[in-house]
């Protein structure tokens, strides 16, 4: 059955967005990412204009991450305190990032610099995550050695002021750490035009040293608020949110997020990390291909990324 999308000004087979929603929602519930890296290009492939695809995806993520946060919260895997600190940092970072884009654009060649930074960062993060999680899966018992290696950086982190205990995550940090790193991811997300889940999850795992299951829930909580903000801004400034498309997507993604959360509980933290690392690396390769292979069409609709 086909439905007409009033803002995208195109018609789509309803099975397409429902199916896409289901798949991306599953990833969301499993790994705590928004899934925009997958959803936006697929929607464009099905004829949705790029601005509408990006804006409507944020609207859909609001539903998927609500569903996912709820599922993780039920089993005590959302650290609200940490989430709020990250959000505070992310909010300021987002504002700085928007200004940053203007500066980069004025300097010229901004897209090149942005894309290269993003590819490099995804590549490094993905590789590190992959190696680290595989090796810790192999030698589960030598973890004490690893912790000692971290202690120099650990000492520095614990010497910072405003130390506070995060009960759900079972870690003690200076409140400045999540705010600064939340801000850092916020800047990058704004500059790259992506949600930032791929960078936020590794930050929580490796820098904030939170348990993987709490990372997923907390990341979704944080994404939820980001996407509310983005949806509202897109609706009011670009008029590019397609409500009908969002509803079709969320029919799949809210269910997918629940299934993902249930499935994720059956996997060990290390296993989740390995799979996420593989996905991050796959996305890196995909972007490299996109950058190097000649595109089928040299022209595209204006706006979006």
């Amino acid at each position: 059955m086909y439905l007409y999308l009033p803002v995208a000004l195109t018609s789509i087979n309803v099975l397409v967005p429902v199916g896409l929603g289901l798949a991306v929602g599953l990833l969301s519930g499993l790994f705590g990412v928004g899934g925009g890296f997958l959803m936006t290009p697929l929607l464009i492939m099905f004829g949705i204009p790029s601005t509408v695809a990006a804006a409507t995806d944020s609207n859909q993520i609001v539903a998927a991450s609500t569903s996912g946060t709820y599922a993780h919260w039920k089993v005590g895997n959302v650290d609200f305190k940490m989430g709020l600190y990250l959000l505070a940092g992310g909010f300021v970072g987002g504002l700085l990032g928007v200004q940053g884009i203007k500066v980069l654009k004025a300097m010229g060649n901004a897209d090149f610099v942005i894309k290269m930074t993003y590819v490099l960062m995804l590549g490094i993060v993905g590789t590190y995550m992959f190696i680290e999680s595989v090796s810790s899966m192999r030698k589960n018992k030598t973890q004490e050695v690893k912790e000692e290696r971290q202690s120099a950086a650990g000492r520095f982190l614990s010497s910072l002021p405003m130390q506070t205990h995060f009960e759900k995550s079972g870690v003690t940090h200076s409140a400045l750490i999540p705010i600064i790193f939340g801000g850092f991811v916020g800047v990058l997300a704004a500059v790259m035009g992506v949600g930032g889940g791929f960078l936020m999850v590794p930050v929580m795992v490796y820098i904030l040293r939170m348990p993987m299951h709490v990372v997923v829930g907390t990341s979704l909580f944080q994404i939820l608020f980001n996407c509310i903000e983005v949806t509202f801004l897109q609706a009011t400034t670009n008029h590019s949110v397609d409500f009908i498309l969002a509803v079709l997507l969320l029919l799949g993604s809210t269910v997918g997020a629940q299934v993902g959360a249930v499935f994720g509980r059956k996997l060990k933290g290390e296993q989740l990390k390995v799979i996420l690392a593989v996905i991050v690396l796959a996305v890196t390769v995909k972007i490299i291909f996109e950058l190097t292979l000649p595109p089928a069409l040299l022209l595209g609709q204006s706006g979006g990324h």
Binding site: V7, S11, A63, K74, D111, A235, A257, P295, A296, G300
Partner: protein
């Protein structure tokens, strides 16, 4: 008296000349008026919730012995598109925006035979028949040379064809001669990608590689019902629309969460 007679003769001569001229004009116009007509069966397309494009059939009467070309186009306008190019000789990315002026949003052609066989290039340019002729009057900014312009117009056509907005077909108008009249008929697929607006359907009768007659009709496309309400709300009450979208997403997320808990999905 002789003066009067001269005057009458002069007047008679003038009247005669005028009559000859008038009858000549009448003759020329007369054939034109009698022959070419066009009617679209579906000249008001309504975009509702289940819209997935439409079909428009066009039929009419033409002079026997003429070939026919039907052009469906929106009025010329301007469009801005993102341009991809190679950066550092290696990587493809967006390098800027190209502005296209004097180009229709939708352009499709139907004809009785291959257009280049029945119409001269000059006539094609004059009436903007064929994508090549549309390209000649299009303006593209910024391009550095004529070769660049040709290249980017080619890309523009590819982009338009990919969303079914530009199309050229030939040999699909069927003719049926009945007595002294020639009836024609063609069925055109109306793409769902064509946005709401006014579209002009022009029929050209062609003989000896020249356009000898033209007739015109309009197709009007508009959104109706739910589709119209949503589109208008997104534009005119953006803050309310955004808020409703967010609240609906939150409610759906919670709702599904509750269903899964009750259904025992989580364990």
């Amino acid at each position: 008296m002789t003066e009067d007679r001269k005057k009458t003769t002069a007047i008679r001569a003038m009247v005669l000349v005028m009559l000859v001229c008038a009858s000549f004009l009448l003759f020329v116009n007369g054939t034109a008026l009698a022959a070419l007509t066009i009617k679209a069966n579906h000249d008001h397309i309504k975009i509702d919730f289940f819209y997935h494009g439409s079909t428009v059939s066009m039929r009419g009467v033409s002079d026997p012995g003429t070939d026919l070309i039907i052009k469906i186009a929106s009025p010329d306008g301007h469009q801005a598109l993102r341009q991809k190019g190679k950066v550092a000789g290696l990587l493809w990315m967006n390098v800027g925006e190209l502005r296209f002026e004097q180009v229709p949003l939708l352009y499709s052609l139907h004809s009785t035979r291959k257009i280049s066989d029945i119409l001269s290039p000059e006539e094609m340019d004059k009436y903007a028949i064929g994508l090549e002729s549309v390209g000649k009057k299009a303006e593209i900014q910024p391009v550095s040379s004529e070769a660049e312009k040709t290249k980017w117009y080619g890309e523009f056509v590819k982009f338009k064809e990919s969303s079914n907005l530009y199309a050229e077909t030939s040999g699909d108008i069927s003719l049926n001669t009945n007595g002294g009249e020639q009836n024609y008929y063609v069925l055109s697929q109306w793409p769902y990608q064509a946005p709401p607006g006014d579209y002009i359907v022009t029929i050209y009768a062609v003989k000896d590689k020249k356009v000898v007659e033209m007739a015109e009709t309009k197709v009007f496309v508009e959104q109706v019902g739910v589709v119209k309400s949503f589109a208008e709300m997104a534009k005119n009450s953006a803050a309310l629309y955004g808020t409703i979208s967010i609240v609906a997403a939150l409610a759906a997320g919670f709702g599904v969460g509750l269903i899964f808990r009750k259904g025992g999905g989580a364990h």
